[in-house]
């Protein structure tokens, strides 16, 4: 048997509170955020991690899930209905080795059901929720059923931590217009051939550093090296490094700029054309470990030196016919309590 250990939820915020996804969001980024909320700080052993995906998920991104969770994965696909979720949760509680993530996502820009949820199960003697799943079954989507489950049982579920936007989303209401135009990959690719050509293989090379802030700490001198180079940036030792993922939230902003009036690289032209200027910050993840991040879900100029930001996996730009993803900063004030 496995036990529901942790549940992560993510709902789009947006600057206008509409809960519409931002132009740089899709089901992959929303699922990645929910997964992070379910697994960060909860190392799951033994690997591989089983991941059951419910919902429209870009098939081209299945290869990316190991980089999101930092472990090899086994993939399953289940139906994205409420029934599908209940079945998936039941399957997850049943026997087998290792940990399982059940991930549901919905990318429709509609108030109340856009977002993603991730349930993390780990082996145990018996799941406290195993009998409760049937009670939330209705006609809705898997994401809606997940929120029903939280509202019916969430706060009182012993042994399970509910992390993220579980309280932040209303379950019915008006359907507001999307907050801004979404630039599709076909559109965003136009003209990009003149931009910085980062071949797919190079883009993939340092994904752990770029997506999970994977770093190395030297047990000899204590220095954190980020990004990783296989040797300590202070003392040069290669035999004393331990992997460490730096915190993805709460980074301190040390510098900031707003890019406009043609100051952007050519591959960001389509974004500027559609959405206007954007802010970029240099933020400190940990002493001696800084990262350059574009700001999203915010008004350019909103974040200032000394502020803290959280980070999310988002679309950067399209190249070779697919989206390139990376972490971006979001203002702390807009993020859901965890």
């Amino acid at each position: 048997m496995r036990e529901l250990l942790r549940a992560g939820a993510y709902c789009p915020g947006g600057t206008d509170g509409s809960h519409s996804p931002s132009p740089d969001e899709d089901t992959f980024t929303m699922a990645a955020t929910a997964i992070e909320r379910a697994v960060v700080g909860f190392p799951v052993d033994p690997f591989p991690l089983g991941i059951d995906l419910l919902g429209e998920f870009p098939p081209s991104m299945e290869w990316a899930l190991p980089a999101v969770v930092g472990a090899p994965v086994h993939l399953l696909r289940s139906a994205a209905s409420a029934r599908g979720l209940v079945d998936a949760l039941h399957r997850a509680t049943e026997g087998g080795d290792g940990a399982v993530l059940v991930v549901a996502m919905d990318g429709r820009p509609r108030f109340g059901n856009s977002g993603a949820v991730a349930f993390l199960f780990r082996e145990s003697d018996g799941g406290p929720l195993s009998g409760a799943f049937e009670e939330v079954l209705d006609e809705g989507s898997a994401v809606e059923a997940a929120f029903s489950l939280y509202h019916a049982h969430g706060a009182g579920t012993s042994g399970t931590r509910w992390v993220g936007d579980w309280d932040a989303v209303a379950r019915s209401g008006e359907v507001p217009a999307p907050s801004s135009t979404t630039v599709g990959p076909e559109r965003a690719t136009e003209g990009v051939s003149q931009g910085a050509y980062v071949p797919r293989a190079r883009y993939l090379e340092n994904l752990p550093s770029r997506w999970r802030f994977a770093a190395e700490r030297c047990t000899g001198c204590g220095t954190v090296s980020f990004p990783t180079r296989g040797k300590c940036r202070n003392c040069g030792r290669r035999d004393a490094l331990v992997p460490v993922d730096l915190p993805r939230d709460g980074a301190l902003v040390v510098a900031t700029t707003v890019i406009g009036a043609g100051g952007q690289p050519a591959e960001f032209d389509a974004q500027v054309e559609a959405q206007g200027p954007y802010e970029v910050v240099l933020a400190e993840l940990a002493p001696g470990a800084r990262v350059t991040l574009q700001l999203t879900d915010a008004v350019p100029g909103q974040v200032r030196i000394g502020d803290r930001v959280d980070t999310r996996l988002r679309r950067l730009y399209a190249m070779e016919g697919e989206w390139r993803y990376g972490r971006k900063a979001v203002p702390r004030a807009l993020t859901a309590p965890t």
């Binding site: 040390v254 240099l282 030196i305």
Partner: protein
Amino acid sequence: MGHRAAIVGAGHTRFGALNEGPRALLRSAVDAAFASVDRGAEPSDVEAAFLATLGFGGWQIGNSAAVLGEEAGITGVPATRVENACASGGFALRAAVEAVASGASELVLVAGVEKMTDVPNARRRYWLGVSGDTEWERLAGLTFAGVYGLIASRYLYEHHLGPEALAAVAVKNHENGALNPNAHFRKPVRPEQVASAPRVADPLGLYDCCPVSDGAAAVLVVPADRARRFTDTPVYVDGLGASSDYLAVQERPSLTQFAASRRAAEQAFRSAGCERSTVSFLEVHDCFTIAELLALEDLGFAAPGEAGRMTLAGDTRRTGRLPVNPDGGLKAKGHPIGATGVGQAYEAFCQLRGAAGERQVPGASRALTHNVGGAGATATVTIYAAG
């Protein structure tokens, strides 16, 4: 300590949006350098050549040093391209000085060239962008303007200064550029114009950025003890310093100090054996206005935060206590990448011979040039003395 080498001739094309291609620009600069040698020098006497260029013009990426040989009429000598982005010229000069100081060569040609305006805007931004970090800064949406925008935001924050400290650099360098017949921009600008220009990478606006220029420059370098065969007024190279740093600024402990510039300056002053107080003027790498403020502090001429105040007070004007960029700097003279560092040496050559015309710094006897690659990833500092 003494002299390490001497410059006996120098040439410089106009910088700007020019009709000439890189070959014609190189030919003009090299011909002018030979013509400036008082007792004459022949291309056939050149024993080695170094060409500083980032991309030549975008259509001769490889082996462009051979083209320098063709245009200079020195086909047959060892010719080497030196590429350290915007610091290519400074590093090419350094290579030439070391070649003559070591005894390997007796007459070395250094030339720098860039042809920027042939290239479509998007490709040019690509070109310039890939001299910076492409995995972090670039993917976050930054070009060099953006990286320097981050640096400027931090500098103003740390030192409680407003953007007028940046604008003062632009106003001063445009004032100098107006006196330089080779300058890209020959019009003064007012602080209000700088302040109201479109924001490229806030706090940097359009007038905080150097232009995209074409141009070439060349100098002839000989061993110090041979200098007087060529001229009675050589300009000696007394100090050389160079260093490098992490490519991405996110990996450096400070945003407001370029460690590469600091190390290069220490080396240069140590090798020249002179004090900062003996330097008559500086040519610093002001690709963006903020870069000039950082340079004054990194080179040891201003305490942290003081460069802004010095500039606002007028100390760095051509007639001030410490003239900085009397030729207009990258900001007003222009920044044809590979030519920039060689163009700085040209200015030192003219000024220290009292031949800088309207922009002459009175009584100039010692000069310092400072050439930076990217946002401080590479840097050279060179100290010169009048013969």
